[in-house]
Amino acid sequence: MKRLALLLAITLSVPVAASRAADIQLPPTRTVTLPNGARLILAEKREVPLISFSAYLQGGALTDPEGKEGLAALTAEMLRKGAGKRSAQQIAYELDTSGAVLGMGAGVEVTWISGEFLARDEGLMVDLLRNMLRNPTFPDSEFVKLKQQSIDALKSEKDDPNNLLTEYGTAFAMAGHPYANPVEGDEKTLERITREDVLAAYRAHYGGDRLILSIVGDFEPKRMEGVLRRAFGDWARAPGTRPVAPAPARARGKRVLLVDKPDATQTYFWIGNLGISRKDPDRDAVDIANTALGGRYTSFLNTALRIQSGLTYGARSRTLRLIEPGPVAITSYTKTESTQRAIDLAVETLERFRKTGLDSLTMTSVQNYLSGLHPTNYETSDQIASILAGLAHIGLPVTEITEYTGRLLALDSAKVHTVLRRVYPAREDLAFVLIGNASEIRPVAKRYGEVIEIRFDQPLIDTVSRAAKTR
């Protein structure tokens, strides 16, 4: 029952407290590239006897063949279902008896495994990770079970449109581009995947040259480096070509995807277009702009849609940043009867933001907000392991984090205004996705552009891409 932590009345003149925190310090890191191309990043952090790691395999869902979306995610989950001499049950038992945590999955551009172990279980950790990555057995019975569970899990997610709103928005706004495909696939694409597909995906896309492994915690770095060299130094390169997404283009014009969920008593909406890449030179200015627009509780959007009008429990904006630009979008929900009012208010807020930008009080507030809370993102070994692997994947230096506050404070509101006008789409160029009771909201949907209608109980990829193609 959380009060949503997300928004800003700017007219009152309470003085802004000087809260400019110093830039953060990360533990010293050592990066090693092995002859096969594998990259190891080691950082010693000894407050508690834990070791965290984050292993990225570059490729991720971009490697999914058309019609078999979800393959990379399923392959990743199969890694814990049998590896080396261990069965799925043995892996589960060893993890649970050692109190470790382990997770894996696919993202758009990387497959990941992350874990946290007691320092005393370092041997077990390296052995498990090595075997899961290099000797997975993909037992047929486990594959059959996991595939069915994944299909059923996708069906059950449709209980709540919040779970899938972003997937529908991205699929519609980026139709035709590989980023449009949901990493988990859909009920139909999962159905088509065979164990042979999983084996083929593993053989083509797992290998030393794809590996980025960051490890942070209670260990002696020199010795750990030796252990990891022995574990991964002779892992052959992946034979498949590492897929790279083409640069996507921003779509022009207004278009609407109406997703019918007849029992819904409220409308969930996504409004957006193409935004920026993770390496965009203006990314810090976009952090400021997005925080002001819809990235915190007092943001313009939450103020308009929640605080001042009570139309919703929450309204926000987000940017998805990958090697190439992903979407920038506004999301919220409101009861069926107020659909038009809430969407109009969201679009007007965006328009006003593009027109007037940020006043100096908001600018200072956002700078303080981001820099004040920045250290909390790098407090623990698992947070640091994850960010180090992510930076290495994108190709950004650690100074991205350690010099962030200084860069934020050097920006001014005029610069942010210029950047936001480039990044946030104008009202003439918006894609709208509305999930709700179509019989009630169809006339509202038509106000925002040409409408394509599909059903929420149908598989996502086929219906959205088919619908987008018929435009």
Partner: protein, 436 residues
């Protein structure tokens, strides 16, 4: 897993003249502070007509006080490098602030002002009703699992106010009056009904000086009336069926269990861990892995002032159906009550608890939450640091006794959600044009 040094040795606590207890845990890893304020009030303190009012206060505490008009709490906090949130349970309402250390005094001033002098602006109240209604639609009405859980709670408890949904019944949300809010505020949001925890880059001396200046002058209020109702023992299985659109069938099975501070709490916690934590747990192996009757299985052991529920959640595999899932679950629960647990299983559960315990204390936020929970529900924050020892002493026999006591058919409430098509297919339907 021993943490280096003596955890918690640097904690200092002090109770002020007005009954407010303040606990400080200095931790200088990052230049930030976590402040948790726990009020001993939740849906357990409500009655028909005002259900959901505690949760509504969770929202109203951000809507203006004497020195800070509506909206200012959030605006000032964020501008000073902080963020906040809050949550309400059946037993407590907890307000959480995370901020840069430089914001300390302004945050304390704002917390003090809303305890002392909350305002009840009618425009804010009306707007917030809309927000809470939206929250209810999202969190309960448009979520099959939460909708079923609300019905299971209302069935498992016939007398005790744990039957009341935390967010409240829709008709009450629409009808609270400002007088209800004012009287509720005076009763429960008083310094003597609260505990504050500061964890982070601070010193006890610094906090106590600020507390003396801003918090201690706020007067205490008469102690709230205790909740007297005791839930009578359940004397037979209860079943409740919900029919509504849902992509898959759902099964929930609830059993009355003990309170947070009860003598069996550790044994019950370990029992729950053995049943559902990890892919080597009993219910995962039986229902998801072996019988394949469930897509997922999980549990929640309610830990409050009074005896609550142990609730097992099953996302049913649509191909196998709810009856197969129920029979598998009943059988496995009967087996653990009949045969008990192995030493290896118990040892595994203890290790998982131990690791989770230390993991929870990795951050200043986690420390504030854990410390507050022990202080409020166990009466002494120091019990946090003896928890590993208490869990270590639990025997296999004690876990089996807990299983026998809890998994008795007479103590069971079964909730089933059976999917049904939406009443009206709307594709191609006539344009509705919107209601009103």
């Amino acid at each position: 897993m021993p943490k280096r040094g003596q955890p918690g040795a640097e904690i200092v606590a002090r109770t002020f003249k007005n009954g407010l207890k303040v606990i400080v845990w200095p931790d200088h890893d990052i230049p930030n502070v976590a402040l948790y304020t726990w009020y001993r009030v939740g849906s357990r303190n409500e009655a028909p007509g005002i259900t959901g009012i505690s949760h509504f206060f969770e929202h109203m505490m951000f809507n203006g006080s004497k020195q800070f008009p509506p909206g200012e709490f959030d605006r000032v906090m964020e501008a000073a490098g902080g963020a906040n949130n809050a949550w309400t349970s059946q037993d407590v309402t907890v307000y959480t602030d995370w901020f840069a250390r430089s914001a300390l005094e302004i945050v304390v001033r704002m917390e003090a002002d809303r305890i002392c002098c909350l305002s009840f602006d009618s425009t804010s109240v009306e707007s917030e009703r809309g927000v809470v209604s939206s929250e209810r639609r999202t969190a309960v009405d448009n979520s099959a699992r939460d909708f079923l859980e609300e019905t299971v709670y209302a069935t498992a408890f016939v007398a005790h106010p744990y039957q009341i949904p935390i967010i409240g019944w829709p008709s009450d949300i629409e009808r609270w009056e400002i007088a209800d809010l004012q009287s509720y505020f005076r009763t429960y949001y008083a310094p003597n009904n609260a505990t504050m925890l500061f964890v982070g880059d601070v010193t006890p001396a610094q906090i106590f000086t600020l507390a003396e200046k801003h918090l201690e002058p706020i007067p205490a209020q008469p102690r709230p009336a205790p909740v007297r109702t005791v839930e009578p023992p359940q004397t037979g299985e209860r079943r409740v069926v919900v029919r509504r659109p849902s992509p898959v069938p759902l099964l929930q099975m609830a059993f009355h269990a003990g309170p947070a501070g009860g003598p069996e709490a550790e044994a019950e916690d370990l029992l729950e861990t053995i049943l559902t934590s990890g892919e080597s747990s009993r219910l995962y192996r039986r229902m998801v892995d072996r019988d394949q009757v469930a897509v997922g299985v999980g549990s929640y052991l309610q830990r409050g002032f009074d005896p609550g529920l142990l609730l097992v959640y099953v996302t049913v595999s649509p191909d196998r159906g709810a009856a197969a899932a129920e029979s598998s679950l009943v059988d496995e629960l009967a087996r653990i009550a009949r045969e008990g647990v192995t030493e290896a299983e118990l040892s595994k559960a203890k290790t998982m608890h131990h690791a989770a315990y230390w993991r929870a204390l990795k951050t200043i936020d986690g420390k504030a939450e854990a410390l507050g929970s022990y202080e409020v529900f166990r009466g002494d924050y120091k019990k946090l640091f003896t928890a590993p020892e208490r869990y270590g002493k639990v025997t296999a026999k004690a876990v089996q006794e807990a299983a026998r006591r809890i998994f008795d058919e007479r103590n069971r409430t079964v909730g089933l959600l059976i999917p049904e098509e939406a009443a009206e297919a709307s594709s191609g339907g006539a344009p509705g044009g919107g209601k009103k």
